[in-house]
């Protein structure tokens, strides 16, 4: 299986603050991962883990400080904006908050037609046709009705469907869904997820599904990557990671979900304290101040990413065999 997107040893630094008080925050610390064609890769972590940033680097919405971004085997790390623009047609983002995603002064119809007219040389009528079809595809019917509405006139669920319609109207191959349902009511979530899965099947897409909800990923993802404080700490097939988690953090994540941990019969792992400050992460293993299995070496030396078996990675001294 070839990879549609590959991130090679990516580092993403940000500078925050103003003159005199600048701090460098490393949002992504040497992460490598591949999204294979036709797969759903679930990226899980809490806020501050760097997962959203990583997603955006994979779309080249950020230029990584170090490392490379490959799309269909082509190195797009250093491509200038002008070259990226045409490539953007093939990779799209579904953001978390539907309410900010469409310019409030646009109508839904305008918002959906705009990318079409920019990327394709088609007439306005042709574009209108495609917009109609796109709205029908996501269940916003009757399309004539929704076309003339503004974002604030739609509910959260409807708006997210419009956002998805707009992303899909360009027929992208690679989608980054960043917490696409976290802001929506529980009873609507499933229908949105189902919509994304339908599109994936229909158009042969590959997805990077970013969320803090590992239970959700267990239902949709093929492989899972766990991020903690800017690092990838575990990776593997979804059944492996969820049924036999290796990293203490993954175990704690699963323990923390109500009802689920009892369903799975896993050992309960408690973490003390809170996620550290990304601008000043703990020395050695980043989880060590909170981890119940901390040993001496964890406090001073950062563990390597160990391949326990093919495709199964964990960044923890507990699994280091000399």
């Amino acid at each position: 299986m070839s990879a549609i997107v590959e991130l090679v040893d990516v580092v993403m630094d940000f500078e925050i603050g103003v003159f005199g008080r600048k701090r460098r925050v490393r949002a992504v610390d040497h992460v490598s991962l591949k999204v294979n064609r036709g797969e759903i890769y679930g990226l899980v972590g809490e806020s501050g883990s760097g997962k959203s940033t990583l997603g955006r680097v994979s779309l080249r919405l950020y230029k990584p400080t170090m490392g490379r971004v490959l799309f269909e085997n082509r190195d797009i790390t250093k491509l200038p904006e002008s070259a990226l623009r045409s490539l953007r047609r093939e990779m799209q983002l579904i953001p978390q908050d539907p309410y900010g995603a469409i310019n409030p002064i646009q109508t839904i119809g305008e918002a959906l037609a705009e990318p079409l007219l920019i990327h394709f040389k088609i007439s306005k009528d042709e574009a209108l046709e495609r917009v109609y079809k796109a709205l029908e595809e996501v269940g916003l019917v009757p399309p004539e009705d929704f076309m003339s509405r503004r974002p604030r006139e739609l509910s959260g669920g409807q708006l997210q469907r419009a956002v998805i319609a707009r992303a899909m109207i360009l027929r992208p191959k690679y989608i980054v869904a960043d917490e696409p349902t976290s802001n929506l009511d529980a009873s609507i979530r499933t229908s949105i997820i189902k919509l994304l899965l339908d599109f994936k099947e229909k158009y042969n897409q590959s997805l990077l599904f970013i969320t803090h909800d590992i239970a959700l990923l267990s239902l949709v993802a093929n492989r899972i990557g766990v991020m903690y404080l800017a690092q990838l700490v575990e990776e593997g097939r979804v059944d492996q990671v969820v049924k036999e988690p290796l990293h203490p953090y993954t175990k704690a994540l699963l323990s923390a979900i109500p009802l689920i941990s009892s369903q799975l019969g896993l050992e309960k792992v408690h973490l003390k304290g809170e996620i550290g400050d990304p601008a000043n992460p703990p020395k050695g293993c980043r989880l060590h101040p909170r981890c119940p299995f901390t040993r001496e070496e964890c406090k001073t030396r950062e563990p390597p990413l160990i391949e326990v078996e093919k495709g199964r990675l964990v960044k923890c001294w507990l699994y280091y065999m000399v």
Binding site: G157, R189, S218, L219, L253, S255, A256, P258, L259, I260
Partner: protein, 318 residues
């Protein structure tokens, strides 16, 4: 044994665009040391209900009917001075957004102290109590001298909880206390609340949208939809014998680990409370709705001991 008794509570918002029936005829009992979870999605009325218990419904809302009997007294009938004595000290509230409780311009220790002093705590003892309760919620002394913006979401929420328990209230109302927090911190906060329940024998009303959280932690659960109580039962009974179609739908919507079928979702949208559908407010989205459901609002029926369901078809459906 009953510390709180709520009878037939109705709350309406009188807005420019219409009258919103936010809470319609809700009743329940709360025993000492019991955790009741009020579960509902946005628009279910659960937050309004929480505020109504302390007569804190903001304008243009008004409690138009009902009683909240605390320790034998209907607190809705108390005047401002008397109810202020109860708020914070005998019944306290923790909000989803700590911004509403914490003053961004003052240090934690100053706010906390002033809060205690206002409720009659001796000035000399106040600081010690602050230290003691911050420690009880797992915060270091350093936090005392910080400003709210210097703290993380989890830390702020712990401060709110510390303030909510410092006067040893008999009832704590927690409105979505962990929704804005990450799942690991969420567990820590809920463990803390459990400890408080055990140690101080406080009663807890947990308002949440997360049915899984309710099923894991609460003793009793009340499911609300469109302002109505749809189902009410003890946890185990609810888990084993869920009767209301909405409760079942909420439960089906919970992800089941590794099951590759997606949880079933509910069609349609939450009701417009200014113009609710006739009959049962849930009927437009209910797969079991029959003619009767469209015409007559169903009454609350006791299907077994302490298990109430508001549904016409509760007898026939499994």
């Amino acid at each position: 044994m009953e510390i709180l008794l709520v009878n037939d509570l109705w709350v309406r918002y009188f807005t420019l665009s219409g009258v919103v029936s936010a809470v319609s005829g809700v009743s329940f009992k709360l025993r000492r040391g019991e955790m009741l979870a009020i579960v509902g999605e946005s628009g279910s009325g659960k937050s309004t209900l929480g505020l109504a218990l302390l007569n804190m419904v903001p304008k243009p809302g008004r409690i138009i009917r009902g009683e909240v009997i605390f320790d034998g007294v209907d607190i809705l009938k108390l005047d401002l001075h008397e109810i202020r004595k109860i708020r914070g000290s005998r019944i306290s509230m923790v909000f989803q957004d700590p911004f509403t409780t914490l003053d961004p311009l003052r240090r934690i220790v100053d706010q906390f102290e002033e809060f205690l002093i206002e409720h009659g705590v001796d000035r000399a003892k106040a600081r010690t109590i602050v230290r003691e309760y911050l420690e009880a919620v797992g915060l270091s002394e350093r936090i005392m001298y910080s400003y709210p913006h210097q703290l993380s979401g989890g830390q702020k929420q712990r401060v709110s909880i510390a303030m909510a328990i410092a006067l040893n209230p008999e009832v704590i109302i927690a409105d979505e206390p962990t929704t804005a927090l990450d799942v690991v911190v969420q567990k820590q906060i809920m463990d803390l609340i459990d400890n408080i329940k055990e140690k101080y024998k406080s009663s807890i009303i947990l308002i949440t949208h997360d049915l899984a959280l309710a099923l894991e932690r609460a003793d009793t659960i009340m499911v609300m939809y469109g302002g109505y109580a749809m189902e009410y039962a003890e946890k185990k009974e609810l888990f084993n014998n869920m009767k209301h179609p909405y409760t079942k739908a909420l439960f089906e919507a919970l992800p089941r680990i590794l099951q590759r079928d997606l949880p079933r979702s509910l069609p349609g949208y939450p009701p417009d409370l200014r113009n609710p559908p006739p009959g049962c407010i849930f009927h437009p989205r209910c797969e079991f709705a029959i003619e009767k459901c469209k015409r007559e609002p169903p009454p609350l029926i006791e299907v077994s001991r302490n298990h109430f369901v508001r549904c016409h078809r509760v007898g026939e459906l499994l």
